[in-house]
């Protein structure tokens, strides 16, 4: 569930961001939380992409004893197979991000399509689609994912599909609301009256307006997708052939890392997942907040207005 995230601080945005195109960049520029989140994500994505090149050791090479302690050559120690943790983490981020992005893509496509269709066509189509969405919303995700993953068999592809199938509901709702308001705008009505086909109107007029919100929602969905993948892996339903961060945690858990006292096998991978989720939440939350015109003025706070000593008199220029 995504929570609203108003930017901390008292400053009121003097100029609302007018251009929809530049809104992502503008938000990142103005809000430190968004900038932080974006920076972290870019960094991790970079590390993930360059993992084969940057990783200090080979992924499958045992370089020491099982659960070897952290040392200078292995800052984060070794896992249950004697493999360097730093290497594992870099590859793990890769897989986790891939799953997160892929699942989110699936949910974005489904949710976006349903949201646009429901918002644009309205009427019966809208009602039916929203009923379906309501029912999907009611299904508890984690149990369903467990069951489907168990029935279908663990593989990266299945995991992506399973997660994607459950996450589209929030996207659909958000997009539908936005499409509904865009549809009422003058230029859309004008385009329709000029005889533009539905497809043209949707792609040329509706989608560009909806895109920023879709981006915000997508970023937030990535956070949930990564969490879900971690959860599934932990419950033993992840793809055994790929090492995601969730799998790293699961392996450590299964091989009694805790009783051995090998905290380095558990803490770093989970911390990394938390960081990714945090970064996504910050960036997505800031974007969403920037796009929804929420009241920024606080009429009441612990602090009150400040007094300044009078300089000059009357209406003189200070």
């Amino acid at each position: 569930m995504s929570v609203a995230l108003q930017e901390p601080g008292l400053i009121v945005d003097e100029e609302p961001i007018r251009s929809r195109r530049g809104i992502v960049w503008e938000t990142v520029r103005r809000r430190p939380s968004a900038a932080g989140g974006a920076a972290v994500l870019l960094l991790l994505a970079l590390a993930a992409v360059l993992a084969p090149v940057l990783a200090p050791y080979d992924l499958h090479e045992q370089v020491g004893p099982v659960f070897g302690h952290p040392s200078w050559s292995h800052p984060l120690g070794l896992d249950d197979g004697g493999i360097d943790m730093v290497t594992l983490l870099m590859w793990g981020v890769r897989i986790s991000l891939v799953v997160g992005f892929a699942a989110t893509f699936v949910s974005m496509v489904i949710g976006g399509t349903i949201g646009v269709a429901a918002g644009y066509f309205g009427g019966k189509v809208d009602t039916i689609l929203m009923r379906i969405t309501d029912y999907f919303l009611v299904i508890p995700d984690v149990p369903l994912m467990i069951i489907v993953a168990a029935i279908w068999g663990p593989s990266l592809f299945h995991i992506v599909i399973v997660i994607g199938i459950l996450l589209w509901t929030s996207t659909a709702r958000v997009i539908r609301a936005q499409v509904k308001s865009v549809r009422e705008r003058v230029y859309v009505k004008r385009a329709r009256s000029l005889g533009a086909s539905h497809t043209r109107v949707v792609f040329r007029h509706v989608l560009p307006q909806v895109a920023p919100l879709l981006i915000a929602n997508t970023v937030l969905t990535i956070a949930v997708a990564i969490f879900d993948e971690t959860a599934l892996s932990f419950l033993g339903l992840g793809d055994p052939s790929r090492i995601s961060l969730g799998k790293v945690i699961e392996n450590a858990f299964q091989r009694a890392a805790i009783s051995t006292g090998a905290w380095w096998a558990i803490v770093p991978p989970g911390a990394l997942v938390a960081v990714i989720i945090l970064a996504c939440s910050l960036l997505g939350g800031a974007l969403e907040d920037a796009l929804n015109p929420r009241l920024r003025v606080s009429h009441l706070a612990a602090r009150t207005f400040r007094l300044r000593p009078l300089v000059g008199r009357g209406s003189e220029v200070v």
């Binding site: 569930m1 929570v3 609203a4 995230l5 108003q6 901390p8 601080g9 008292l10 400053i11 309501d134 029912y135 009611v138 299904i139 508890p140 995700d141 984690v142 149990p143 369903l144 467990i146 069951i147 168990a150 029935i151 956070a223 969490f227 971690t230 959860a231 932990f234 419950l235 033993g236 339903l237 969730g246 945690i249 858990f253 805790i258 905290w263 558990i266 803490v267 991978p269 989970g270 997942v273 938390a274 960081v275 989720i277 945090l278 939440s281 910050l282 929420r294 009241l295 920024r296 003025v297 606080s298 009429h299 009441l300 706070a301 612990a302 602090r303």
Partner: protein, 320 residues
């Protein structure tokens, strides 16, 4: 009664959703290609006679429609089938599991609501200060932590001081009431703390956001103009109005907690509903899976209904 038809509408919708959930449940387990259908009959350690009896009881030799009808009939009678794993009625297993889960989840939730509301209000009140930044950051941090990982971290931290597995000490023979209570308390501490911390993060953000919105409303300005003191405004107007979105969001989240408890119960080997579902998956115990899943879905629908009704009760503007 104000808007009695609203209440009726929501209840009917909830019942309808439950019905749809039941149908989906049936479809998932009986109509899934190959696997689940015959699994019901493929009870391990069962004699051919038992297999036949089960087949007939569940109507697996009849058409899908007939099976569906039989399934509905059984549900109405509370018959969720028999677990493969321990040959006990699924309903009995689930009842025990539910009794175990509820106190743990309740404890964690209450902790989260209290702490979350406190920090959320403070963060909104002290907008623009370091306190706000710290509250939001901490809440976000806990909100972002994977539940099971946080559980594992707590295990690492408290391994020596508190028990980290199970619900009670099996080696306590004939414990007195207080010893038993103390034992239970020690065992429930970490699992509910884990759940509580993750939820507290979410609730802080919800409360803060709702308070910030409320504090920006015009009637707050009016209240100030009337000469009310800030704290009085906070109590009488801000909190009162922010309760609306807060209560409904909290109620909504409760529906998903029972499912989220799966992770906590797995980490701490807590014998609750979450664990039961998980074990059922591992053991391919389809009756338990089916029953557990249905239970979880119904809990989500139930709490959604509670959220709807709460919203209706708290907001006088809703009339239909």
């Amino acid at each position: 009664m104000r808007g009695a038809d609203y209440v009726v509408k929501r209840v009917v919708f909830a019942l309808l959703t439950v019905f749809v959930a039941i149908t989906i449940n049936f479809a998932l387990f009986r109509l899934a290609p190959g696997s689940a259908v015959t699994n019901l009959a493929r009870v391990p350690h069962a004699t051919p006679e038992t297999r036949l009896a089960i087949k007939r009881q569940f109507g697996l030799d009849k058409s899908k429609f007939a099976q569906y009808w039989i399934y509905l009939g059984q549900l109405v009678r509370g018959n969720l089938g028999v677990s493969f794993a321990n040959s006990q009625p699924v309903s009995k297993n689930l009842r025990t599991a539910l009794i175990n889960t509820i106190p743990m989840v309740l404890l964690g939730t209450v902790f989260a609501i209290v702490l979350g509301t406190l920090t959320g209000v403070i963060a909104a009140w002290r907008r623009g200060t370091k306190v706000e930044g710290a509250s939001v950051t901490t809440a976000l941090a806990f909100y972002s932590m994977p539940t099971h990982w946080l559980g594992l971290m707590l295990v690492i931290l408290f391994a020596g001081t508190l028990p980290t597995g199970g619900m009670s000490d099996e080696f306590l023979l004939n414990p007195s009431f207080f010893t038993h209570l103390k034992d239970l308390a020690e065992h429930v501490a970490l699992p509910s703390l884990t759940l509580g911390l993750v939820l507290y993060g979410e609730y802080t953000l919800i409360v803060r956001s709702a308070m910030l919105e409320t504090l920006g409303e015009d009637y707050i300005l009016t209240a100030r103009a009337k000469g009310l003191r800030p704290r009085a405004i906070l109590r009488r107007h801000a909190l009162r109005n922010a309760m609306l979105p807060i209560a409904t969001l909290v109620a909504l989240s409760l529906g998903y907690i029972v499912a989220g408890a799966i992770l906590v119960e797995t980490v701490f080997s807590w014998p609750g509903v979450g664990r039961a579902v998980y074990d059922a998956v591992l053991q391919r115990d389809y009756p338990m899976l089916q029953g557990g899943f249905l239970l979880l879905t119904i809990s989500v629908v139930f709490f959604n209904l509670v959220a709807d009704l709460l919203y209706f009760k708290l907001d006088p503007r809703i009339t239909a």
